[in-house]
Symmetry: C3
Subunit: 315 residues, 3 copies
């Protein structure tokens, strides 16, 4: 595995999920694999789960983790080619990525979208540049258009909790006060399309995700209809894709409530966290025994560990 | 030991001090104990000694440390229940604590008081919430009302330097330009009350500490009188507890000076550091051979190591 | 080696370069040497290469690294003696250095110059204070007047790429929008003066470096002349030393271009990075096969490893 910046980089999903499940059972089974190896965790944006779970995954494999908050601890980076660097940016990504590749065996990068420059965001501007100029494998710790480690943990969680061979999974938009990225829903849609599930997306009009991502997936603009007989409700806010980066609605009728959950087949509730209580989901649902968000977060470690072990083994 | 957020959590102080002293002699005696174990060090406030000594203590026990500055690196946390999270706080402590518990075997948290909301501060608002919602042991790296790791190091220092079975120990208020918390003096008072010492507090009027903490301890408003025959002078500033969080005085006659130290029984000088020179204490006293502040800071490592080893052994 | 804060601290340069080269061949040859040892990496200023390469070097030797950004994570430090600390600085360097020395076996500190107070900068104000008050060896991760780890990596790079016994090396000033320190050129000059090279400095008038550093070195104010027959071109900007800390020129005719490089003996291009593209050097030169800046950065790890291993062995 040379890079993991998109769900598209997964070749054999069932095998990868088995590997992650195996690490969940025995986290230290490969603790010699990463000996003398170093992962650089580079953050342009804040992170709690992603950072700690990836650091823990690396540690379980015997790797050393070096964490850097690039905006506050390092130099501002230039990503454009051919410019005269006479402004505030002290270093070009070409040098930064090549140099850091020499100190690390794997690079992992978090970089959120602008939500104003659609083209740049869709090109996965920052992380693509790291992939291009690094000489070691690159992992996305959430990019502008995908969050593939999250998606792998999500699929692992569904695999572990499902009670039928082909559960019904609903990804539902839910309200949020701020404009949020499309990375999590995009990667979730991609991995669900490759899973043995009945998959439906529910979102208000104007909130359809990138059609090249959702192609072939049923999209409903009625949450109640979507929830019928669902086995898993995955809630998430995102800003508009069409009216790029805008908050068109904070309609509370889309908040996932107990009443709404009663329409489902006693569904599990999922969210990638952090979650805004009583905006995305009510306290009652989140604190109920159907909520598996904590276990879902726990699976982040083993998803990351599966990817890291693939990279360490040059598979 | 399920938590160490207060001196009250200590069951057998002499045994704990012996354990700390034993780690001071042989720091690596239990370096297998923390193998494959991770401590999360979570900071809401700056730290030098506490962070490095706890990280060193963890390392001596073979543990991995993951350090996070929550305000700058993570998400702003909501601690209130039942609120609609439509403001700046992205994550609720319920999820944050539960999730981080899955990546760490022990959580350690630093959170200073507001010094404006007495009730919240006395409830140890932030750290109590971590204790409540974490599924692993929680250590206070200084909370709003206690600094129990400091107190344990202080007691260890007195145990090592005392020349009589029952030395006289004076905690004296000293001036400082800013409003400071009560955590250090509270924990020191609590641990001295459980130690075989003659203990006296000296502070100006208006500066009495929480009476529920100082109950049974002699409080003098005259520093000279308090210093008579003292074997240990522990200087510390705190803001008023009665007129909560206010600086009522910066009276320089309370600065610990050579002249004042001459009233003692050739006493040792202690302070938790960082210390404001020529405010709290004069250069002459701090740089004299009676000052044991550096050794006191050194003991932080072994105090932390004792607590961590107890937690790792589920004692 | 008790300290490495200046190239002057090197006793036997050829032996040190051999040691670094040996670590480059076998990075893990001494991985037991730093077992149970801790290095404190203390930053007053941003760092990418220096931090990661030193952390990697420590890790290769089996050491634990504790990284602290002192301005954001710790307390503001007072460096003056005798002051009444009633301002914003909470801790004196005397205590800070002494305390941290107890948690770490080696301290490494980065502190840039003021570029306004020449005397303070030349005294290496901050790092000298750490040397004075620390009880363990101190390494400069770039001070106000020297960057000795960089210089060692530079000398290692020249040793590995040189094709003649005595190559011609040119240090050339190049334009930059901001006022930069003298640390890198100073240390480079010092190490070249001790190397078997023909060494020339090229800079515009008004940009002569500290004459006590450049004593005995030819300084040309004509870049073309200097480049003739050069085997290595080392580009670097610095602010004026005479008109201290000022930018007197951003003359683009000093930008290292392909045309200018054609005057050389097919010279290698070097720079310490981060480098401003099309200010210091054109894209064409930096992206050419004569550019060895990435390998030069790679050598930072092994230079640091050589110094650390000397300190760990008390040599």
């Amino acid at each position: 595995m040379k890079k993991y910046t998109s769900v598209d980089d997964i070749i054999d999903l069932p095998e990868l999920l088995d590997l992650a499940a195996s690490f969940k059972k025995e986290p230290f089974q490969s603790e010699q694999l990463g000996k003398r190896k170093t992962i650089g965790l580079l953050f342009f944006n804040p992170s709690l789960r992603t950072r700690l779970s990836t650091q823990k995954a690396a540690s379980n494999l015997g790797m050393e983790a070096m964490v850097m908050n690039l905006n506050s601890e390092g130099w501002l980076l230039e990503f454009e080619d051919g410019v005269v660097m006479d402004g505030t940016k002290a270093e070009h990504i070409r040098e930064a990525a090549a140099v850091v590749s020499q100190y690390c065996d794997i690079l992992a990068v978090r970089s959120f979208p602008t939500l104003t420059d659609k083209e740049k965001d869709m090109q996965e501007y920052v992380i693509s540049a790291f992939v291009k100029f690094a000489s070691v494998p690159v992992i996305s710790l959430e990019g502008s258009s995908e969050h593939p480690l999250q998606a792998l943990a999500d699929a692992l969680t569904i695999a572990q909790f499902k009670k039928t061979d082909r559960p019904k999974v609903v990804l539902t938009w839910a309200p949020h006060p701020k404009a949020l990225p499309h990375a999590v829903p995009n990667s979730f849609v991609k991995i669900m399309k490759r899973s043995d599930v009945d998959f439906v997306i529910a979102n208000p009009e104007g909130y359809n995700l990138d059609p090249s991502v959702t192609e072939g997936v049923e999209i409903l603009h009625n949450q109640k209809e979507a929830f019928a007989n669902a086995d898993f409700i995955y809630a998430k806010n995102w800003s508009s894709f069409e009216t790029y980066g805008q908050v068109l609605s904070t309609d509370e009728s889309w908040t996932v409530s107990e009443k709404r959950m009663r329409l489902t087949n006693d569904a599990y509730f999922m969210h990638c966290l952090p979650v805004r209580r009583n905006m995305i989901v009510t306290d009652a649902v989140l604190d109920s025994d159907r909520s598996i968000v904590i276990e879902q977060a726990n699976n982040r470690t083993f998803a990351a560990q599966a990817i890291l072990s693939k990279m360490l083994q040059h598979e």
